[in-house]
Amino acid sequence: MLKVENLSKKFGEFQVLSNININPESSQLYGLVGSNGCGKTTLLKQIMMIYKQDEGTIYYDDKELKENTEFLSDFYFVQDSLFFPYQSTLSKLFAYEKLLYKNMSTEKFDNLVKYFNIEINKSLNKMSKGQKKQAAFVLAIAAQPKVLLLDEIVDGLDAVIKRKFWDVLIQEVMENEMTVIISSHDLKELDNICDKVGIMHEGKILKEENLEKMKDEIKRVQFAVEGEFNPDGFKEFNIIKSVKIGSINICTLTGNADEFKQQLEKEYKVLLFDKLSMNLEEIFITELGGAGYGTEKK
């Protein structure tokens, strides 16, 4: 199991990561979401020991990764800005990576090449961005790592390929007890597949929770009451956001929605009350709004 504890990193004077704590679990898909430039890629590179942490510890199977770098042979990182060695083809690269990864499976590679319909002898540098991502993904899955880090892997892919990606990934996670961390801007995609989510902003993890639990914790209610609704009397329900559209009030809160309704009925004549479900994108916007991101007035 992978665990990141109090990780901090500075680039010169700029604090890129600050006191990061994440706990991705095996056989789970961990979604790392965050605003642009919040440090997602840096965090993934930090886990891969590409950068050295200034402070904090990364554990793998309860052992410090820095002191046991041999564990990194069980890790596989697919970066956003893909690189392939000069004049390499997928078949050549597979031969090279077969020397590096002890679990590299020829059978899995062949199956995936067929499934994604990739030309294995075509120069990788001549392929489209989407084809390159597929090639990199095929190699990553064929390597059968225990920890797979995918940085913006579905960015720029069409819906069909995305669906293929998720199918393969979910199957691998279930069958091989793989830990997968995916950073992505495509929150709708992650909403459907992630077990756990870490929301990052300005180098910090604002929230880390199981997605379902997160959805339970943050609720949105819409209601109409006689008279003007004043949220000041409902502080115990932690109203994060309150807006009024016409006569309808919409509140995002972390407190109990049923108790909120009871309190509301005590103080107002409630004309309408509905509980709304929240998706990851909405939770993301709410959390980041709480951190002052995206709340600037025009």
Binding site: F11, K45, M48, M49, I50, Y51, K52, T69, L72, S73, F75, Y76, F77, Q79, S81, L82, F83, F84, P85, A95, Y96, E97, L99, L100, Y101
Partner: protein, 581 residues
């Protein structure tokens, strides 16, 4: 362990296989330029073989930079660093790879040489080419680790290779400041001593093995130590490398300052050492240039016009350290400034022009702790071979110490010439020690020449000087022994050879008469004559032709010795005898 070894070997083989195009291209380049072109042109291939060696340097250099360029691009670095093979191993795979390529290219050039049956002694050349290439490969890897981009890595490879030379230059700069501050001290003499005793640059670069010296254990020891040191640095620096600085000029801030500080010392050193002027003006210019160079280098490396406070601090601390160190050498040398030995303690002495004389002398005295009579004769011969005189006469030694005191008090001399030579004085003491001083003479219109000229004239007029400088005329035994082999070459002022059957016996008498009387009627300019080559005053005498005498005396390897006398206006008798107007 076994698994790791296998993994390393497999990766090395894979890496070699992926370099096959480089091998092919290099083979074509080397074979065309070293074999095919000379064959088509039908000319000797020596120049082309030499060119082939230069090509090897370029090809290997480019290869190293290309191979290690993965350290200078974020995506490439992330790709390779995320693979389960350490960065250290990847770098060493590249190093081994480049060594294999180097050996292959060297073998190709050797093959070309054999095919052409060229006279070039390639194996002699390889004695230093191979270690230079090998060290270059290691240095290129180290420079790539230290640098953030490939262009910087290339420049830093050259910089690091030249580092011993750069230190040499900086130490020389320190000594030149010392020589400016303390009359009598020569930067050349000090550097000569320093290099000879401590800083063996010719060994560091293995140039010492180029002159027909056989490779020995020391050769391998030096090469092994250098490579081990660089390897250690590579391992250390790979561990400490800040990969987030990839793309910048330098990956390490410390190294950035190290380069900037050294460069800021070299540039003023190169400029100011070539300038004449007061110590204060030279130092001011040096400091200005150092600050400017440092600012420009840091600004370029940080890609910002405004440099950080830390950079300014580093510069100030480095300059202070340099000034303190130079000051310390000045303090150490100051007590010796006024040392003029008692003539009684001096066995032999030299006074005359500086430059290369002391090098010959130093090399000779190194082998002889105390100059006994037998060794002294050999030592005198060495002086004679460079047309200089080693004075044994007590009167001359006394005059040399008098001149030393005079020059110590005042280096000024009112000369009509635009250029004056420095004055070197070397004492070889009875106890085997040596005192060497070099004084920079200053052309001063207000200087009083009388005392200096009088002392110089006494030395120049001495029998010892004449007999030693013109021994082929004064030494009766020598003349009688070799007179039949004396050959004369007489040229007029335009350099045209003058024919004529000249009686050597007669010519000798006229020359002796003129040399004897040369300083009898005036002592003007004697000081400058003493500081000139061959103790003549060529700059003061109107050039009016010269006489060259070659003698088969077996004094050197050529079999013949050549002596020439500038027939200035004061050679009245000789000129009349030869019929020169």
């Amino acid at each position: 362990m076994e698994q790791r070894k296998n993994n390393f070997t497999s990766l090395l083989l894979y890496s070699l296989k992926s370099k096959k195009n480089w091998f092919l291209l290099s083979t074509v380049i080397i074979l065309i330029t070293t074999t095919l072109i000379p064959f088509i042109l039908g000319i000797e291939g020596e120049v082309f073989i030499a060119f082939g060696i230069v090509e090897i340097f370029i090809l290997v250099f480019v290869n190293c930079l290309v191979d290690n360029s993965f350290l200078h691009n974020d995506s490439k670095l992330a790709y390779y660093k995320s693979k389960p093979v350490s960065l250290k191993n990847q770098i060493f795979i590249n190093i081994i790879n480049n060594h294999i390529l180097t050996v292959f290219l060297l073998a190709l050039v050797l093959l070309s040489k054999t095919v052409q049956n060229s006279a070039i002694e390639l194996l002699e050349v390889y004695k230093f080419v191979i270690p230079w290439l090998s060290v270059g490969i290691f240095l290129s890897a180290l420079s790539s680790v230290l640098s953030g981009n490939t262009v910087a890595a290339g420049l830093m490879t050259i910089f690091n290779f030249a580092l011993p030379g750069i230190f040499y230059l900086i130490i020389y700069f320190m000594f030149s400041i010392l020589a400016d501050l303390i009359p009598g001290f020569s930067a050349d003499v000090l550097m000569e001593y320093f290099v000879d005793a401590f800083y063996k640059l010719d060994y560091i670069y293995l140039i010492v093995y180029t002159y027909n010296r056989t490779i020995d254990v020391l050769y391998f020891l030096i090469l092994g130590s250098i490579i081990a040191f660089i390897t250690l640095l590579i391992i250390k620096m790979v561990k400490r490398r800040k990969n987030e600085n990839t793309g910048s000029f330098m990956a390490f801030d410390g190294y950035k300052y190290f380069v900037a500080v050294l460069a800021s010392l070299i540039i003023p050193a190169l400029f100011t050492m070539e300038f004449y002027g007061s110590v204060v003006s030279k130092m001011t210019v040096a400091l200005l240039l150092a600050a400017l160079s440092y600012y420009l280098i840091i600004a370029i490396m940080e890609k910002a016009f405004r440099i950080s406070k830390l950079s300014i601090k580093v510069f100030l601390v480095s300059m202070t350290a340099f000034i303190v160190l130079t000051g310390a050498t000045v303090l150490i040398a100051t007590p010796y400034k006024n040392t003029v030995p008692d003539s009684k303690d001096v066995k032999v002495a030299y006074i005359g022009v500086g430059g290369w004389h002391y090098r010959v002398i130093n090399n000779a005295i190194k082998e002889q702790d105390v100059l006994d009579d037998e060794k002294l004769a050999e030592f005198e011969k060495r002086y004679n071979d460079i047309n200089a005189v080693l004075f044994k006469n007590k009167g001359n030694i006394e005059n040399i110490t008098r001149m030393h005191r005079e020059v110590l008090n005042n280096q000024g001399y009112n000369s009509q010439n635009s250029y004056m030579n420095n004055m070197t004085i070397n004492y070889y003491m009875n106890d085997g020690s040596m005192i060497s001083r070099e004084y920079r003479t200053i052309n001063d219109a207000n200087a009083e020449n009388k005392v200096k000229d009088e002392i110089a004239a006494q030395i120049l007029k001495s029998d010892e000087l004449k007999e030693k400088t013109y021994f082929y005329l004064y030494d009766e035994d020598y003349f009688q022994r070799y007179k039949d082999s004396y050959k004369l070459e007489l040229r007029d002022e335009s350099g045209t050879s003058i024919d004529g059957n000249i009686d050597m016996e007669q010519l000798r008498l006229h020359l002796i008469k003129d040399i004897d009387g040369m300083f009898n009627y005036s002592v003007d300019g004697a000081f400058e004559a003493l500081c000139s080559y061959d103790y003549q005053m060529p700059s003061m005498e109107k050039y009016s032709g010269y006489i060259e005498i070659s003698i088969e005396d077996g004094r050197n390897n050529r079999g013949k010795s050549y002596y020439s006398i500038n027939l200035g206006e004061r050679f009245v008798n000789t000129r009349e005898f030869l019929g020169i107007e």
